[in-house]
Amino acid sequence: MRRVGFLVRKEFQELRRNPRMFPVIFIAPVLQLFVLGYAATTDVKNVPLMVVDADRSAASRDLIARFDGSPYFTVVGVTTDDADIQRAIETRQAWMALSIPPEYGEMVGRGQPVTVQVVTDGSDSNSATVGMAYASTLIAERAAELAAARRPPGAPRLGSIDARIRVWFNPQLLSLHFMVPGVLALLLMIITTVLGAMAIVREKELGTLEQLNVTPLKRWELTVGKLLPFGLIGMVDVILVVSLAVLWFEIPLRGSFPLLFGLSLVYLLCTLSLGLFVSTISHNQQQAMMTAVFFFMMPMIYLSGFIFPIENMPAIIQPVTYLIPLRYYLVIVRGIFLKGVGLESFWKDALLMLGWGVTVLALATMRSKKTLS
C-alpha cells in the first residue's frame, strides 16, 4: 500500500512539470462544455420564413404578424407568387414557407373552414419537425381565437377537444438543459479515458515500465497507483463542469449533489479502467489513442443514447448498449439534474455501471504483466 503512495506522488510530480497537462485537464473541459453546450442544441429559433400572401387582407396580415412576432420565425419575404417558395427554399434563403390562399380573409370573416399551406425543407429533418410543430401551434391558436370570438358569450364549447399539455422537468423544452448534463458525461469519458490510455503505455515507451517491472511492485499497485491520481483529476473536473453548468448555463440541479458526485466516481472508475485496459493492449501512445478514440469512445457515444434515443435503435443493437457505461451514467446524470430523482429510480443503472468498472479494472490489472511470456 505504501508503494501506491509513492506512485501517486510521482505521478503528481510529473504532472506538475508537464506543461501540456494543465490545459488538457482543466482548460479543455471548460472549452468543450462551452462549445458543445451552445452548439449541440436542437432548439430551433428564428426560422427564416417565406410568405405567399395571395389574399392581402387585414386577416392575412394579422396571421403573418403572428409568425413574425413569435421568437421562432423571422419573415424573410412576402410575395404573391407560389413559385417564389421553391426558389427561396432551394437557395436556403428560407427554411419554411407559409402560403395564404386568396379567399382567406373572406372565409375567416364568414366563419368558414379555410386551408393555409405550410411548406418546409425536409433536408434538415430535425429543424423541419420542430418548425412545423411551432407553425401548427401558431395556426391552431389563431383558429381557436376565431372560434371563440364567434361563440355567443356564455355558450358552451361544443365538439372541440382542448388538450392541455404540461411538460415536466424541462418546462421550456430547452435542449440546453438536456444536452449539458450529457456533455458532462462525454467530457469526463474523453479526458479520463485518454489519460488512462496514455498512462502505462507512455512508461512502456520511455522504458521506465521495465524499471518498475524489476522492482517488487505488484500489478494491482501499479494499476491503483495510476487510477488514484487520474481519479482525483476527474473529481476536480466533475466539480468544475457541474459548477459551470449550474452557475453559467443555469441548468437546475434538482437532485442531490453528493449523490451525483459519488456516482460520478463510479463512472470515473469505468472510464479510467477502460483507459488503463487500452494502455495495456497498446504498444505506443499513438496506438493507444487510436484504439481509445475509434474502437471504444466513438461507438460508445453513438450507442449510449447521448445523440439517438436507445428506444429508437434496431432491436439487435439495443442489447449492445448495455455494454456501455456512458448509457448508465447518462440516465443517472440527467435524472439527478433534471428530474431530481435519486437512487430509487436508477439503482440498477448504478449497480451495472459499478460492475462494469470493477470488471474492466480487473481485466486491466490482469493484462499488465510484469513478466512477458
Binding site: R2, R3, G5, F6, L7, R9, K10, Q13, E14, R17, N18, L206, G207, T208, E210, Q211, L212, N213, V214, T215, P216, L217, K370, T371, L372, S373
Partner: protein, 311 residues
C-alpha cells in the same frame, strides 16, 4: 553455490531463436561479462535472468531462486539497469531516488541513508534538485546505477550500461563497478565495448544466440597460442593485404588501424615468405613485429569460426 546458474536456456520470438541452449555459471562476487554484437542474444538472456521475460525452455537460477517459478523472488534480490535510460526525466535527482527506494520497500530512514550514499557515489551532491532530464550522460548513468542498488542487492545486472557515454565517464563508471565487486556484489554485465570486457573476471562471447567461447581474458587469448600474429606496417596496406592473403603460410589477414595483422598458420613462425612477397611487389615495409592478439582479434576469430561452422 554460484550466484547464477544457467542450463540450456532458450528463448524464441516466433520463429526467431534469440537465445539457443545457453549454459554457464556465474560465481559469487565475480564480474561476469557478456560480449557480443547487437542481436547476439545478450539482452534477451539478461532479461530472462531478471524475471522480465519467460524462458521458452531450459532453467536458470539467480541467488538460488528459479527465475521461471518465482520471478518476483528474483526481483527482490537483484538490481537491474537496462540499456535505455529508465529513470523519470521529469523528476529531480532526489525524487527519483526516493521513488525507487519507496518501491523497494525501504523505510524513511533507510531511504535518507541510501540517498546520501548514491549522491556521493554518483558525484551528484549539490545537484539533488536538478531535473534528471537536464543531467549529462555520465551523471545519468551513475544515477541509474545508484537507483538500481538502493536496496543493496547481492547480484547486479547491467545491460550495456555505458552506451553513448564519453570515455572519462565510462572509466568512472567502471571504477564504481570494480568497487561494488570488491564489496562482494556479483556483477553480470553485457557490453559490446571490447576495452570494457577487459574489466571482467570472466567473459562469455555470444554469437547468434549461442555462447561461442567462455573464460577469462587470458584463457580466451589462448586460442592464439598455436598461431603467431605479425603486425605489418607498409605504405599501401590494402595492396599488401591482398598480396599476403593467398600466401601458403598465411591463415588470414585483417586491417588493424593503419597496419595489418597477419595470422600465420599453426606452428609457423617464419616471416621470410611475407618479406619476399612484399619485396616482389615493391611494397616497402617496416620491420615485422610479433604481437599479442587483442580481445578484438579473439572475438573476430571466434565469430568467423562460428559462421564457418554454421554454413
Amino acid at each position: 553455490m554460484p550466484a547464477v546458474t544457467v542450463r540450456e536456456l532458450t528463448r524464441r520470438f516466433g520463429a526467431f531463436l534469440a537465445v539457443d541452449r545457453v549454459s554457464f555459471d556465474v560465481e559469487d562476487g565475480e564480474i561476469f561479462g557478456f560480449l557480443g554484437s547487437n542481436g547476439a542474444g545478450k539482452s534477451t538472456t539478461i532479461r530472462m535472468l531478471c524475471g522480465l521475460l519467460k524462458p521458452s525452455s531450459g532453467t536458470a537460477t539467480v541467488g538460488g531462486i528459479d527465475v521461471e517459478r518465482d520471478p518476483e523472488g528474483v526481483k527482490r534480490r537483484i538490481g537491474y539497469m537496462s540499456q535505455r535510460f529508465s529513470l523519470y526525466e521529469l523528476l529531480t535527482v532526489e525524487e527519483n531516488i526516493t521513488f525507487f527506494g519507496g518501491l523497494y520497500g525501504l523505510d524513511k530512514r533507510r531511504i535518507a541513508a541510501r540517498r546520501a550514499f548514491v549522491l556521493e557515489m554518483a558525484g551528484l551532491k549539490g545537484r539533488e534538485k536538478t531535473l534528471t532530464r537536464d543531467l549529462a550522460g555520465g551523471w545519468r548513468q551513475r544515477l541509474a546505477l545508484g537507483c538500481a542498488i538502493l536496496h543493496e542487492p547481492s547480484i547486479l545486472f547491467l545491460d550495456e550500461p555505458t552506451g553513448g557515454v564519453d570515455p572519462v565517464s565510462r572509466r568512472q563508471f567502471w571504477q564504481l563497478i570494480d568497487r561494488l565487486s570488491g564489496q562482494g556484489v556479483t556483477v553480470f554485465v553485457t557490453t559490446h565495448y571490447l576495452d570494457e570486457a577487459e574489466h571482467c573476471h570472466r567473459l562469455a562471447l555470444m554469437h547468434a544466440g549461442r555462447i561461442a567461447a567462455l573464460g577469462s581474458v587470458a584463457e580466451l587469448k589462448q586460442i592464439f597460442r598455436e598461431r603467431a600474429v605479425v603486425e605489418v606496417r607498409t605504405g599501401s596496406p590494402m595492396a599488401a593485404l591482398r598480396a599476403l592473403d593467398d600466401l601458403p603460410t598465411v591463415e588470414k589477414t585483417s586491417p588493424f588501424g593503419t597496419a595489418l595483422h597477419v595470422w600465420l598458420k599453426p606452428g609457423i613462425r617464419d616471416t621470410g615468405p611475407l618479406r619476399t612477397r612484399l619485396d616482389e611487389l615493391g611494397l616497402p615495409a617496416e620491420p615485422f613485429e610479433f604481437v599479442q592478439p587483442s580481445l578484438e582479434d579473439v572475438f573476430m576469430d571466434v565469430v568467423a569460426r562460428e559462421e564457418a561452422a554454421s554454413s
